[in-house]
Structure formats: C-alpha cells, structure tokens
Amino acid sequence: MSLINVEKLSVGYDGNAVEKDISFRVEGGDYLCIVGENGSGKSTLMKTLLGLIDPLAGKISFGDGLKKNEIGYLPQQTQVQKDFPASVYEVVLSGCQAHFNWRPFYNAQDKKTADMFIEQLGITDLKKRCYRELSGGQQQRVLLARALCATRKLILLDEPVAGLDPKVTEEMYELIKELNDRGTAVIMITHDIAAAIRYADHILHIGDHIFFGSREEYINSDAGSFFLKKQGGDEK
C-alpha cells in the first residue's frame, strides 16, 4: 500500500477549481517533484494534501500506517512576520506538537528529537539565536528541522530554495537528498526542472497537461521535452 494515493483530485478555492483530475501515488522512500508554471496550482495541491483546504472532488488516501498529521511541511513563504520573537530552538521544538494529542507540554523525548535534528542539519550554533535574524538559507534549515520533528516518514517542501543563492541552493538540495537516502519520502515543489530531473525519481507535472510518471518517462514525454527545451533556451 502506498503512503499517499491521489485519485482524480480537483483542487481550488471557494468551489473554483484551479486544477482538475490529478492522480498520483507516493510510496515509502520516494522522491517526487511537482513542477509546473507559476499559478498552475502546485501550492494549492500541497495545501489540499495537508488538509489545509478541502478537495473539490476526488480522493486522497493515506496508507502504510501514515496518519494525517504525520507529515512534515515546509511552507512556500511562511507568513511569519518580520518582527516575530522566536528562538531557533522554540521553532524547531514546535514541530514535535504533531505528537501531542492533548498533552500540554514537551517531554524529554521531544527535546531529544529536536536536538538531534538541530545537530543533523548543522544549526547547533544557532540554537539560541532569534529566527528572524537568520539568513534565508539558515531559516530554511530551521524549518526543515521543524518539519522533521513532526515526522520522519514524509516531508512536503514548497519551493524550499526560492530566494537562496546558488551555493546555498545546492547545499539545500544535497541536504534533502540525504534525508531521502535515510528513508524519508519527499514531495517537493520546484521551478527548477534541472534539479527535479537530477534528484527526483518521480515527477508530477501540472498545468495544461498533467503528467505523472518516473523521471525517465518524463524526459521522454511531450510535456517534459517541451519544458526542458524551454528552460535550456532561457539559460542561453
């Protein structure tokens, strides 16, 4: 049974579909990239998967013992305001609330988990720092650590490298790949088709045509080759 199985899903706001008839599945340990033009509904799809907005039609089923709140999430642009006072440790620890149910406080296990991911993502030095004073790349690492505190099974990343410089972007991709190699399934939205083809094993393309398949199938498909050519053309 797959982690997530999506069948003929329509997503959108207030009854108006942004994208229709999306079907795909994610198995444990998969690395799926969602690509498509701006405004094609990638973030909307992700929010629907997370249960933040209701699907307009179709079905999302979770399997493999994955519970609905066992998904780690890295939002596209956090609405975190510029002046929000929060230490890195407070932010990372808040990911552990996924296991709270009605428990009001963090326990020793939660703190151990948070410390572990803080170390794994190389932000130990920043633990006491104020979140809002970090660079973009550091902030993304903090949010990734928070997502991992929520779950190790599946993380959803919405354009995790937007606004990062090339070197930090590369580091971020490697970090995500490393997590994937350790067994965490990844669903990542990206603009960067080259990266998608380099790292992902499955690709979901949404837009005028919807495509879902393995990386090889995508490269050979119409949508894929068109997009690849276009990106190649942009760079020249």
Binding site: L52, P85, Q97
Partner: protein, 281 residues
Amino acid sequence: MMEKLLLYLSRPFVYYALIVGVLIALCSSLIGVTLVLKRFSFIGDGLSHVAFGVMAIAAVLNLTNDMLIVMPGTVLCAILLLRTGQNSRIKGDAAIAMISVSALAFGYLIMNIFSTSSNLSGDVCSTLFGSTSILTLTSTEVWLCIVLSIMVVLIFILFYNKIFAVTFDEDFARASGVKAGLYNLIIAVVTAVIIVLAMNLVGSLLISALVIFPALSAMRLFKSFLSVTVFSVIISILCAFLGMIISILAGTPVGSTIVAADAAVFIICCIAGAVKGGLRR
C-alpha cells in the same frame, strides 16, 4: 508622602484596587503578545467599544451587576469578529471597525436617550476612561476578578505551546494536527474576558494600550517568545502598580496614569533596543 501612602494602603478599597489592578495587568499582557503578533490588536480595540455599548444597555436597564450581561455580550462579539475575520468576503479589520464604531455610537445614543442620571457626560467619561471605578469595587467584583484572572493564567500556561505554534505559523500547526480553530477561539474568548475586566481599570478607550504596550516594549529588547512573554508581564505589572500609586498620591486619573507609565516604558525600551542594536554592529 509616605504617611499619605500608608494611610491609603490601610483602607480596604485601595487594597482591593491594587490587587485587581495587578491581576488585570498580568492577564492583559499575557494575551497582548499573541494579539500583537497575530495582528489581532485591532480586535482588542473593537471589543472594548463593543463592551462599552453593552455596558450602556446594562446601565439603561438599571442592572445592579452589569458584568452579568457585559461579559457574555462581549464574548459573543469576540466569536463573531473572529468568524468574520476568517471570512474572505469582508476583510477582518473592516468588519471590526464597523462593529466597534457602531457599538460606540449606539452605546452613547442609548445612554443619551434613556439615561436618568443627572451627570450623563460624567458617566460616559468614566466608562470610556475608567476614572474612579477601580476604587469603588465591591468585594464580589474583586473575587470575580481574582477567579477569572486565575483561569486566564491557567489557560495560558496550559495552552502556551499551542498558542506559540498557532501564532508563529498557523498553516504548519494545522498541518501537524494542532486544532488551530479551537485555539483561535480560545484566544478570542480570553481576550473578551480580559477586556471586560480591564474596563474597570482603565476604561474602554485605553484598554488597547494596556494590552499592546507591554508586548511592544518587550519585543524591542527580547528575541524569544518566552522571554518576551515573561518580560511583558513584568513591565505590565510594574506599570500598573506604579501608575496606581502615583494616581493615589497625585490624585490623577488611574487609567491614564497607568497608560502613561506604559508609554514611557515603551519609549525607554525603544531607546534601549536601538542602543543594544547599535552596539552589536
């Protein structure tokens, strides 16, 4: 001067006022941090006007204990405001502005038409600015205030982590199974309760200051949620205490004195924050 102070402190009504004042300051600063960060500070303002309107109705109906209708009325409005705030059709702040200004207007209108009091403008003024009401508290009101404050503090401590999560990043919190709607509701209800309590201390026009200033001051100096929360509670209690003592000694209005103290501390914190930031660079 010391003698005058001691003389006053030996009277129960001053005693009561100090206890109630400190408790209200404690509660309002707790919720203040969240309201400021959630960009909800306007709700506090709107609710205080609503409370004024309901209070006017209570005064006209000649109710002996107006808390009985002001409290539920304001809580109800808080829930309504929260609902409309989430509705995308009417913008949240426009809805709040509409409701709060109408409540203010209707409240004054009702008082003007139906009031039997000979000193109408005095009554209105004291509801708006608090004036002497804090010194005329009955022991029932004091106990009510103590019980409600303890409940507010307990709720805040119990839900502290959830409130942090919902305030910091509501989408993430909801995705990881935190019932954000429920906590937003709790925040709104607690805000309403605090505002009704605080009307006794500073009157409805000055409540926002009591709620917002300590949080803003603490945010100038501290960088983690916990330290900001703790420090804003300390600031708020100190200012309320000092403000009340000064107002007793100098005969100034209680509410305005407290708010003036809060404003002064805010300015000090701004300067201290700028100096601190400058030193690091």
